[in-house]
Symmetry: C2
Subunit: 571 residues, 2 copies
């Protein structure tokens, strides 16, 4: 490809508000262009890279015997009401109304529509198992979307849906897809953790995630410093809460606490640590108000809360709702003398507290010397918080460490949640009707592009491995106006192309400095420069990854390049 014919708008300066490492370099190297907030256009180099990733994904998935389809992106709102996922995604769904006032949405995933398809077409165990997949755009109105392709609102994703007559069959396919995704990440030379996770879908049997470790990641996984234990923090169990030395229970005391609104304020005011505070939060769970208590230094884990309550949907109550409910603003609320009959969940750590501090449900007042059970009732104790670094690992071996990473994929044994909602039943060998068991599997393709962009770069630009690079070779005449250099360059362009190298030929009228800077940014594995020794038939070759340079004669070039690509092949 002649560089003058394509569009690679490299940048010398990236807007200073762009901090995400992958996004920054995708902009600098002319791969990506923001279109509207959190939405991007893929420029020619990114499109080539995307196609390479897609081919690897497709190969591994086709090898499973999965069948490619393309499910509609525009979907009826109704089917999302039926699955109740409309509540799960909340305002992260893009919804719209057509000109005849039908409610539609842009699908972030396709469980509903594929379940309906299978319900209509699969009636008997003879047609099971079935594995369907697609690779296409999906949509999600992400909260954090200034991160380039890590969390774009229009994203390219592979999803697989599998259908089974029994759990054995589901498990077997689940394992095979887990392996296929593993193969894909291995072929991309990415490190990853496979961790237990929680898809948030009711009735799921099992789910796991693929996390690519990265200091820039927004997912926290918990690992033991001594065992192989690793899990998404969402599901990491807290097995032991510190046994506080119980003081003698003192008398409850109400204290005026003007201006105290947060746990931090409270600690300063009373000169105590957050471990001595009871933090109360009010949730709306499936339209019911619920109180949740955790220690002042702990954070509520909503995934755990959802499971404990067997909830479909939960959210924090708004300040207005709390004031209406408790006649007190959030800064002063507490579990003592709640003005209404309301369910109280407490984290296990609350059990061991005594003489604690908490809000008095009266504007500007808190209680001291609060003792659970004595001073207020608790409906249910449960593990309701995120584990902290340094605590005993959930498996009991070693202590907990945090690792940050990017979630790149997930595999879920859905069970019968969707098939029950949509009446997707099959008749088994004994003529009994049963709901079809389902699995659902996602691998982020444009997110993979971002992760690869984060990994394969140095200060000067991208450093693509041979099997992912948008082109193999960057061919650069150093002086475009020098006839000897130019002639040798065009000759080599033709020869290299005839040997099936993908060549990016820098035929632009630019200075050598501009061309080299651009070449570094673009990051092709090999740069062939035609300069002063063109008259001798000698070219200079630079390896992007190592910085090594060679002078090779025209005649040996093909052999040398073949040798390089052979020894640096990853596929």
């Amino acid at each position: 490809m002649k560089q003058s014919l394509t569009l690679i708008p490299t940048m010398r300066e990236v807007p200073s508000d762009i901090e995400v490492k992958s996004y920054k370099m995708l902009l600098r190297a002319g791969f990506l262009k923001p279109s509207t907030y959190g939405v991007y256009s893929y420029l020619p180099l990114a499109k080539r890279l995307l196609t390479k990733i897609e081919n690897i994904v497709r190969e591994e998935i086709e090898a499973l015997g999965a069948i490619e389809i393309s499910l509609s992106t525009l979907q009826s709102h109704d089917i999302w009401e039926l699955s109740e996922r409309i509540h799960h995604f909340k305002d992260e769904l893009f919804t719209l109304t057509d000109k005849d006032k039908r409610d539609l949405l842009l699908a972030p995933s396709h469980e509903e529509v594929v379940t309906m398809l299978v319900r209509d077409e699969i009636k008997t165990y003879k047609k099971l198992p079935l594995i369907l997949y697609q690779i296409q755009m999906a949509y999600r109105d992400e909260k954090k979307s200034r991160t380039g392709l890590l969390r774009s609102r229009e994203f390219y994703i592979n999803d697989i849906y599998s259908f089974h007559e029994n759990e054995e069959s589901l498990s077997a396919t689940y394992e095979r897809i887990l392996q296929a995704y593993t193969n894909i990440l291995n072929r991309l030379r990415l490190n990853y953790h496979i961790v237990d996770a929680d898809s948030g879908i009711k009735g799921e049997i099992q789910s796991q995630e693929f996390i690519i470790p990265s200091e820039f990641g927004d997912t926290i996984i918990v690992k033991s410093n001594e065992s192989n234990y690793v899990a998404n923090i969402e599901v990491a169990k807290v097995t032991q809460n510190t046994d506080e030395i119980k003081e003698v229970q003192k008398s409850l005391e109400k204290v005026s606490t003007p201006e105290v609104k947060t746990i931090k304020d409270l600690c300063l005011y009373f000169n105590i640590s957050p471990e001595s505070c009871i933090k109360m939060l009010v949730y709306v769970i499936d339209d019911e108000f619920v109180v949740v208590l955790v220690r002042g230094d702990h954070q509520v884990n909503e995934f755990k809360l959802k499971k404990v309550h067997n909830a479909t949907f939960l959210r924090l109550a708004t300040e207005d709702e709390i004031i209406k409910l408790l006649d007190c603003s959030p800064g002063s609320i507490g579990p003592i003398k709640l003005p209404i009959n309301i369910k109280v969940y407490a984290d296990f750590a609350i059990q061991t507290l005594n003489n604690a501090v908490t809000g008095a449900n009266e504007e500007g007042y808190h209680y001291m010397n609060v003792n659970p059970e004595r001073d207020f009732a608790i409906n249910t104790y449960a593990d309701l918080r995120y584990i902290k670094e340094g605590e005993i690992s959930p498996d009991g071996v070693g202590i907990t460490q945090y690792i940050y990473g990017h979630e790149i994929g997930r595999v879920i044994k859905l069970g019968t949640f969707f098939s029950e909602k949509f009446n997707a039943n099959f008749v088994d060998e004994n003529d009994n009707s049963n709901p079809i068991l389902m699995g659902s599997y996602q691998l982020g393709v444009s997110r993979l592009l971002a992760i690869l962009a984060e990994k394969y770069q140095d200060d000067n630009g991208f450093v693509w491995p041979t099997h992912l690079s948008p082109y193999d070779i960057h061919l650069i005449p150093i002086n475009r106006e020098d006839e000897v250099q130019w002639n040798l360059s065009t000759e080599l362009y033709n020869i290299l192309s005839s040997y099936h190298f993908d060549v990016l030929f820098d035929d632009r009228h630019e200075s050598p400095g501009v061309k080299f800077t651009d070449a570094d940014l673009i990051g092709l594995p090999v740069r062939v420069m035609i300069g002063k020794r063109a008259n001798e038939g000698i070219v200079e070759v630079k390896i992007r990854s190592t910085g090594e340079t060679f002078e090779w004669a025209k005649e040996e070039l093909i052999d040398r390049l073949n040798e390089f690509f052979r020894t640096n092949s990853y596929n």
Copy 2:
């Protein structure tokens, strides 16, 4: 592919309200599944067919030197305001609002976003020309969308955008893309007309459409019965209006016409023909009310009207607007004594009318003996109507015939409309800044699938040509339970696959009748049936297109099949 592993839900009965030939067969043969109104999911066979079409499109376009990109589908409403195309598409745009109240839409095409991209990145003639393309989903809230993939609201399309420093360069690329599209349609063995058209975009230099002739088509093209003239009816000029024999002008007469609302009513009431009536329509053109007069038997051509008025946007006035404007309902309006100062356009055919009939602008009254100029003023005479069959051909040679067809693609020399709106300028060799010239080109990919589905079928199902067929060979053991047949079938499946035939292996436990009916519906070019003579190593082969059957020995099968596919190759 084992048929038991894929999803081909053939149907014996298609819902009776489905009339479109292509859609009906895509449903019957298990290629397509409606998802929501006017939106479809592509099942495995359709996805394979789509990929084959896409590959042909991609090959021809890449051969041009066009560069693949992927522009965002989710786009800001603002840029469509700026281009004013928001008015052009009206309620055919899917619009939505994100959770932060930004106005977005789903793009039906990408002129705005690609112009902005090029504006930001291309500053000099040195980087021109540039040809960018993509193949991806686009969205349009179509009026008629119960037609399957002919007018689906979510559709797969190829679009190309080209950028130039002068019209010569634009024209050269335009011709090359016209040729590439021609090549694609030739490779698909489709008949087509390339006709002059009107893209509706202001300032366009030229546009042409590819029309596939079909009695089921909703586009009308006009051709001469004697010359090569052919054009979309939108642009077919009326060159000659009948010279009426002028009667002596009679006196204007107002007549009470209760219940007369339409031209048809009028003709019955006065016992005249529509040729003697003046039909008046009220349009809103760029926020201005305008009156348009055509003869009673003629239809206003809005494309011509738009050009004459140099309009951005027009629509018929609503009944309420007309009543408010003229104090008279649409059934009785006419050009005499218009109560307001309003621009009056008349089709040339009005010029030759005398003693005509028209509405009196008074509820339930019409005028007789109406004579243009004498009885009412006309601002502009112009060619404002659709040509009728039987009239003199626009090129003056022969008479006009109508051909119905499907529009499958269009090529447009846009000129500088978008670059002026978005300030996409370049500096030329003389250091002058000029707007970039643009071209835009679309070929409907999912619509092609529908057109192929319409063409390649008989009463029993699809009849795919070898190069488009989802699989090459349908391999069918007649009795699945017969061990000899089954063993030979699996052996042949392995052998055929090893020779790189794409085989669909009907391994289902179904009766021969069901399998044959399904095989006819699916329509693969060759059916290999393993039946009673399996013990002799003899199979039966049926050619789908001709119905010919052969008995071939296992040993000769590969040679025979190679021979068949060689002599029936289209690529």
